[in-house]
């Protein structure tokens, strides 16, 4: 009988504590601060709009664009086939299948880079893979893809090739760009050169 009293003296207070405290539902970060700093410094999460545009144009099934702005902004304008996951809903269990998976290449974008990068940092620290950020966000997208600046006449050939590609992509994506007159510049040939997208698949060293 004595041992029951001893056991009770230990178990009941512990039970009371565990009954009184709220359940711990926090998701744990899996990268240490130093690992995170290393990843952020290399900036390898950023994907250039050119690569994304090429993927959209070629209907790459691997690409999943994710708009992390609010729903209103998403409804006003979003990139083709993008889905909307505002930052506030990021950890909603419904979105877990989208942001935590190993098949598609997720690319977050917002107006600039900051918001999308915040989302990327959270997903990265939770240990999710295959998530990237659109470099410069929609602003840079508009600047480069929808409204590319015509290179100077003295620019090297690849500047013109890039320009042609951007004009083509912009047209294919229904942007406002006009095709440059053929005579004005040495053209690289077809309107949409086959730019091989390079989704950055390399995992950071020292990850989980």
């Amino acid at each position: 009988m004595k041992y029951i009293i001893k056991l009770a003296m230990v178990m009941i207070p512990l039970g009371l504590i565990i009954a009184a405290v709220p359940e711990n539902t926090t998701k744990q970060y899996k990268l240490t601060a130093q690992e995170m700093i290393n990843e952020v410094q290399t900036g390898q999460q950023f994907v250039h709009p050119d690569a994304i545009a090429a993927q959209i144009v070629s209907n790459d099934p691997e690409l999943q664009l994710i708009d992390v702005r609010s729903k209103d902004e998403y409804d006003k304008f979003h990139l083709p086939n993008a889905i909307n996951i505002p930052l506030a809903n990021l950890l909603n269990p419904d979105n877990a299948d989208v942001i935590d998976q190993g098949i598609k290449t997720n690319v977050f974008y917002s107006n600039g880079s900051t918001r999308a990068n915040e989302v990327w940092m959270i997903t990265r620290q939770l240990g999710y893979k295959n998530n990237y950020v659109l470099l410069g966000g929609l602003n840079f997208w508009i600047e480069t893809i929808s409204n590319p600046e015509k290179p100077r006449i003295t620019s090297p050939d690849d500047e013109f090739a890039k320009y042609d590609f951007r004009m083509g992509a912009s047209q294919a994506l229904g942007g406002g760009g006009q095709v440059a007159p053929a005579a004005s510049a040495p053209s690289s040939g077809s309107a949409i050169p086959a730019v091989t997208p390079k989704p950055k698949k390399k995992r950071a060293a020292g990850g989980c």
């Binding site: 029951i4 178990m11 009941i12 039970g15 565990i18 359940e23 998701k27």
Partner: protein, 196 residues
């Protein structure tokens, strides 16, 4: 941090090795608590020895509190811990068969191996029966497959069924366990046996 294997903190291959080490520890504690004696185990049914109840419920509430505190401190993510699915029909039928076998043979499967390890012949006979049972179940599987898979309830936990938080349920279970220990002590005095 935890679970260690799900979070790839330790390799999966280490899993079986750890199970081996923990299993030996478990068997050692079972033996030293007297679980290798079929009379002691059967005492649970007749009321003259309730060690089984005390040991297993103490283990259960200790492990439960440990997991809940680990979760509170952020050392383990309980949502990643595997919970065995509940098949209600086969749980009831299997429980009845196991109980009948327990009172007939004086062992449960784990304790029979524990008793065999110290050389008990009745345990050897019990394990023989156990393998006959395994054989009948496997060979006759088509006959009871429907019943075996009936009433799948997923992986419910008692606290969600009762609608209370994990912690409150844990506290209630501790109270219930302690109350059962008191009843067990009373029963041992009420139905004593001098030698078993």
């Amino acid at each position: 941090m935890g679970p260690l294997i799900v979070n790839e903190i330790i390799p999966e291959g280490l899993n079986l090795f750890l199970a081996f080490v923990i299993g030996i520890g478990f068997g050692f504690v079972l033996e030293s608590s007297g679980f290798s004696s079929s009379r002691k185990l059967a005492g649970m049914f007749y009321g003259y020895d309730t060690t089984v109840l005390k040991v297993f419920f103490t283990a259960a509430i200790t492990a439960m509190l440990g997991l809940l505190f680990f979760s509170l401190f952020g050392w383990i993510d309980l949502s990643l811990v595997y919970i065995n699915p509940t098949f209600m029909t086969s749980a009831i039928v299997g429980g009845a068969i196991m109980g009948a076998g327990f009172i007939l043979g004086g062992y449960c499967p784990g304790t029979s191996f524990c008793a065999l390890s110290i050389g008990k012949l009745d345990a050897l006979a019990f394990i023989g029966g156990l393998f006959i049972g395994v054989f009948i179940f496997a060979e006759g599987y088509p006959l009871w497959e429907t019943m075996y898979k009936a009433n799948n309830m997923g992986a419910p936990t008692m606290n969600t069924i009762l609608g209370v938080s994990r912690g409150v349920f844990a506290f209630l279970l501790i109270i219930v366990a302690l109350a059962m220990f008191v009843v067990g002590e009373w029963s041992e005095k009420k139905f004593p046996r001098d030698e078993y």
